[in-house]
């Protein structure tokens, strides 16, 4: 993608004003800690950076920091960069016959890096690295301070890429008492699926979002499509007693709908998502959560139920585990998990909150007899975690 060219075009298009830039420096930090309550249990909190709790106490998976600089270049043009580091970041490496994870803790990445140009009073154009705006909480995913949980429900927020290189156009809507934004976006990105360690390239994601709010109610819908998704998967094949690399296309669509009600005292919210794979190589997926909380002074107790289910649509995919035996059809064993999360947020300062949370995940996936306990990447898990979220 010729991003640089767009950037240059955007800058050239702006009126040339030679006054001093108004620059803001802000940031936010979350320091979290937690563990699963039984041996062997693993709970992925951050599929992008492979943050994961195990039965050993760790302060890495939910710990991160972000620094943002934003400059108003002229009346219509602004530039924003957000640097983010995750304590628990890891990288997968295939080495000889072993999978190795390399600690990349607090490696700094740009989550946002874009120029915003105000085309019209109600139309903004962003070019650069932006958040892939697929979920309700996509753009504020790491900003723990802005929501009640320590992290949005992991069963639903399971995408392993969060940002893309491209562009988005935002159009402000105002109809009577309803205010909102219609967004169109296009771009490319890549990531590593923590479940299979496949390298996935999204080459042309196109999507639209409508978000509307009236008083305490916010409604949002998104739809995205990418017909150019390629996957490179390296795995151990017992038939050849070695690693083989497989490459295939996986065009997909993603849709989500959400409704949030927050009147300052009562907070209710729900989000439903659907991922469809067009070529039957992967099971289609649907996920949802419903959450509720009550603000009692500076304390907000809350509870959430979340669910992730696959449908049996991967008719064309079989995985071979034992030489000479028929492969296991992926469509016969769709993943099925749910979780209940209960926690409390304490706003001990206007710019800082302490949170405690307990999550109980149940794995209802039917497993093939020869892979009992190995087929599903999830498993039952109980997780206890705490965090401090601060904005500055």
């Amino acid at each position: 993608m010729k991003l640089l060219h767009w950037t240059v075009v955007a800058i050239c298009a702006g009126p040339l004003a030679a006054h001093a830039f108004e620059t803001r420096l802000n940031g936010f930090i979350s320091v979290g800690g937690g563990m699963t309550l039984s041996e062997g249990q693993e709970y992925v909190t951050d599929p992008v950076n492979f943050g994961q709790y195990t039965n050993e106490l760790s302060i890495k998976p939910d710990t991160m920091v972000a620094i943002q600089t934003s400059s108003q270049v002229n009346d219509r043009l602004s530039a924003t960069a957000q640097l983010v580091g995750f304590a628990g970041a890891k990288q997968f490496v295939k080495f000889a016959n072993a999978d190795i994870t390399v600690d990349r803790g607090f490696d700094v990445n740009f989550e946002w890096a874009y120029v915003n140009y105000e085309l019209l009073d109600s139309v903004d154009l962003k070019v650069g690295r932006i958040r892939m705006p697929v979920f309700y909480y996509s753009s504020s995913l790491d900003l723990g301070y802005s929501y009640n949980w320590i992290r949005p429900p992991a069963e639903v927020y399971n995408l392993f890429t969060t940002s893309l290189e491209g562009m988005s156009v935002d159009y402000d809507i105002s109809i009577g008492d309803w205010y909102g934004t219609a967004t169109g976006y296009y771009g490319e990105t890549s990531g590593v699926d923590p479940e299979t360690q496949s390298i996935v390239e999204f080459e042309s994601i196109l999507g639209g979002i409508i978000a509307l709010e009236r008083g305490s109610l916010t409604l949002r819908g998104s739809y995205s499509v990418d017909d150019n998704v390629s996957i490179v998967r390296t795995f151990y094949n017992p038939l050849v007693a070695g690693y083989v690399t497989q490459e295939f296309e996986l065009p997909l669509t993603f849709a989500s709908g959400s409704a949030i009600y927050d009147n300052g005292t009562v907070m209710l919210g729900s989000e439903v998502t659907s991922t469809k794979f067009k070529n039957n190589l992967n099971n289609d997926e649907s996920a949802w959560y419903v959450t509720g909380g009550v603000r009692l002074g500076s304390f907000t107790p809350h509870v959430t139920y979340s669910s992730f289910k696959q449908k049996s649509t991967a008719a064309d995919t079989s995985l071979v585990f034992i030489p000479g035996q028929a492969g296991i059809k992926v469509s016969d064993y769709p993943q099925d998990i749910s979780a209940i999360t209960a926690g409390v947020r304490w706003d001990f300062d206007i710019a800082a909150a302490i949170k405690v949370e307990y999550t109980n995940r149940t794995d209802n996936t039917a497993e093939p007899a020869i892979l009992e306990g190995l087929w599903s990447p999830f498993g039952d898990a109980q997780v206890l975690s705490v965090s401090v979220d601060v904005v500055f």
Binding site: R24, N26, F28, A66, Q68, S70, T80, Q82, W112, Y114, N116, D121, K126, I130, R131, S139, S140, L143, Y145, S146, S174, Y179, D262, G264, R295, S298, D347, I350, A351, V391
Partner: protein, 146 residues
């Protein structure tokens, strides 16, 4: 007749005393530049501070000014006009700031600072303690403090 005069005088005196009491207890005033003749009602001010509105009726840019989080006028203003708790308001703007949706209102240290900026900028809207009021600005809304 005479009795009526006395009653009238008593009423007038009472009203005068009441107005003195009214003056003595400082109120919150929402102020704009004196030449700003746009319609600025509570609904407009609420939407401006929530980031839903950024222009006056006539299409000129509108900019909101705040006093800091700890100022009791801020709490009163957010409660009565914006209908938000301070922590809710902070959360809303933190989210906007870090997701490219907008920049929070500029925060100033005192009512005098707000008055000074508003009297020289037709784009600005602010709230001040009524004791700081001068006719260099136009007051558009008043909220009684307890």
């Amino acid at each position: 007749m005479r009795k009526n005069m006395i009653i009238k005088r008593v009423i007038a005196t009472t009203l005068f005393c009441l107005s003195l009491i009214g003056l003595a207890s400082a109120d919150l005033l929402v102020i704009v530049h004196p030449e700003n003749t746009n319609t600025i009602d509570a609904r407009f001010v609420k939407n401006l501070y929530l980031g839903k509105e950024n222009q006056f009726d006539n299409g000129d840019d509108a900019e909101a000014l705040m006093l800091d989080d700890n100022n009791e006028l801020t709490e009163l203003f957010l409660k009565e006009i914006v209908n938000q708790k301070p922590v809710q308001f902070k959360r809303l703007w933190s989210k906007a700031l870090f997701t490219g949706k907008g920049t929070p209102p500029q925060v100033l240290a005192s009512s005098a600072d707000v008055l000074r900026l508003v009297m020289s900028n037709p784009t600005m809207v602010g709230y001040i303690d009524s004791e700081a009021y001068t006719n260099d600005v136009r007051a558009v809304l008043r909220i009684k403090t307890k």
